[in-house]
Symmetry: C3
């Protein structure tokens, strides 16, 4: 049904692995490496050249690597000069600028906008329409929900660029803005539509505009069960590496004894 | 000017009605039914297959129906397995996932993102960049403004999925987040940039972060006229079925006597 | 690498200047004028016809002018009937409706959505995902950050349409909603995630939901330097016409003596 090889452009300087499927109307530019078993949807641009391409004759497209078993859905634009670990997957119309580094098994939702010069760990799941400013640093197992924005200019407009830092296992709920340079610890929960202007310690729930410390996430009870839901890895394992093993057993074998 | 039939792909398992126009670079996949007099813009994908298509050889694209007289603008992606009543119209770059059911004469603005497994009544108008999470249920004549988000996971991340429910004639203003499972009654007005975490009774105005009950919408005066604007159907009829008839007369003939 | 002239459509009623590059899969419709040295990316639609095109046989596409040295990145949709001064540049997936007038050297970020019937001065920089409603009026040197929304209907739904007005040199930070008809003066700073419902005098800092007057921007000290950052033109010149000249010297020569 799809993958008819209609109007596909692949640079002769790209490297395409085994069993890769590429959708109609997609362009793959110089020095893109697509590893085995990837699926690239329709109407994508992979290896989009940076600004210098338009203005410097000597421009050479930097290397881009899409890890094995990745699934990039239609209408995505990925700039040259980024790297994605295995099992990367996206929704539609994602934009990712240069110098973005993603670990393994990350997921980006439809319309997400990654501004480049960012680092993500493994198993980061971004929902639809997340905006990550330059110089953001995100740990492992971080979930970010729709319309969250990470900012980086404390006195706009200026030449300062300091993004937020988010620790492992933290969750940032829908519509929240994280201000420049804010450090959020591990296992935190930031409530919906918060404005986070101060650092957040490990295991804290912060919510509101301006964001305030509400309580320790471990004291937050599920409305459904009356039990603690956080730290969430004990209660959610779909798609996580501790699926069918349990977080307790997994964490000891994987260097997360203290989580 | 448009509709030159350039680089169009139509599955031989699709059914295209009379007088349908299809824009350049558009793909229409298996088991899509496009009824008479529809216009589909450029660069669209109609009947995008679900995730299983990539991984299961036995995948069959479910049926998709675009009702007669619909207008889908360019760069939209509509997954297989949804149904749209007559007179459906969209802006550009709309994404609609599977199992979305829309009544008659609904409109979706540019960049709207419908996550699937949702139900809309008739004459729902969504402005640009609205995000509707799974398991949301929306009545008739509901207007939703830009950057509104309907959420569904009360304790992220979890396996619980309970979307909001919105009654007939309600309005949700720009930038508002409606939290999981919240029930909003009929003829409500939710103010701009609110965070709605509690149920809202019929005819209530709720606003703020966190959202608070402000007053009955019938006590809200127009700044321009000094008169009540709500219930709005008495004061707005452009594109509505009571246009040129008046809401009073229409509602009696159409089962809305109590509105 | 790019600009292979693959699947490009250019109307014979369009006028293309010297040294213009047009990306693959792009359509340029009737009465579009693209001035010299412009770059148009892949998958764009320039001169998209308005609604009447679909329904009136007598429709004639109005004139669209893209000023010289402009750079429009991929997947943008620009409706017929707008005008862009020289040096216009956009990110990806920008949508611009009819009757939008932009001065010189304006920049629009990825996913921005300009609803038409708006006026921008020179050197306006909009970051990603900004939504500008109809009837908005924006001065010169105005910077607008991600997820800002300018609204225009005070009593939704109604037939009233009154957009905000923003003075020269003002800054609107991320996630802010500006309500219908609000007038923001010059050299203002609107903080992140604010809801601005009242007029703002020149040089004021307003923040919060609801937005409140915080202080004069000239009393705001940089956390880095301890010095005043505002009025910002004294401290930021990258890409501005006073680059390498200084704002003091430039403003006298250019009619901004009072700024």
């Amino acid at each position: 049904m799809k993958f008819n090889n209609r109007n596909v452009f692949i640079s002769d300087k790209a490297v395409i692995g085994e069993n890769v499927k590429i959708g109609d109307n997609t362009c793959i530019y110089d020095h893109v490496v697509i590893e085995d078993n990837c699926i690239i949807g329709n109407d994508c641009i992979i290896g989009e050249p940076g600004n210098n391409y338009y203005f410097k004759d000597t421009y050479v497209n930097p290397k881009t690597v899409i890890g094995k078993n990745s699934l990039i859905r239609s209408h995505c634009i990925i700039y040259a000069g980024s790297e994605f670990g295995e099992g990367f997957s996206t929704g539609h119309r994602v934009t990712i600028r240069e110098n973005s580094v993603f670990g393994k098994f990350c997921r980006l939702g439809t319309l997400s906008d990654i501004q480049g010069y960012v680092t993500f760990g493994d198993y980061c799941w971004l929902h639809s329409n997340v905006h990550i400013g330059q110089q953001s640093t995100i740990g492992n197992f971080v979930f970010i929900y729709p319309y969250v924005v990470f900012t980086n200019d404390p006195h706009p407009p200026s030449n300062i660029c300091v993004g937020p830092t988010i620790g492992d296992f933290s969750q940032v709920a829908v519509g929240t803005v994280v201000l420049p340079g804010v450090k959020i610890g591990k296992h935190c929960l930031i409530g919906a539509q918060s404005l986070v202007g101060k650092d957040v310690d490990d295991y804290q729930l912060v919510a509101g505009n301006p964001g305030k410390l509400i309580k320790d996430v471990r004291d937050l009870k599920s409305r459904e069960t009356g039990l603690s839901h956080y730290p969430w890895p004990y209660n959610f394992e779909r798609g996580m590496p501790w699926e069918n093993i349990g977080f307790d057993k997994w964490k000891i074998a994987n260097g997360y004894e203290n989580d």
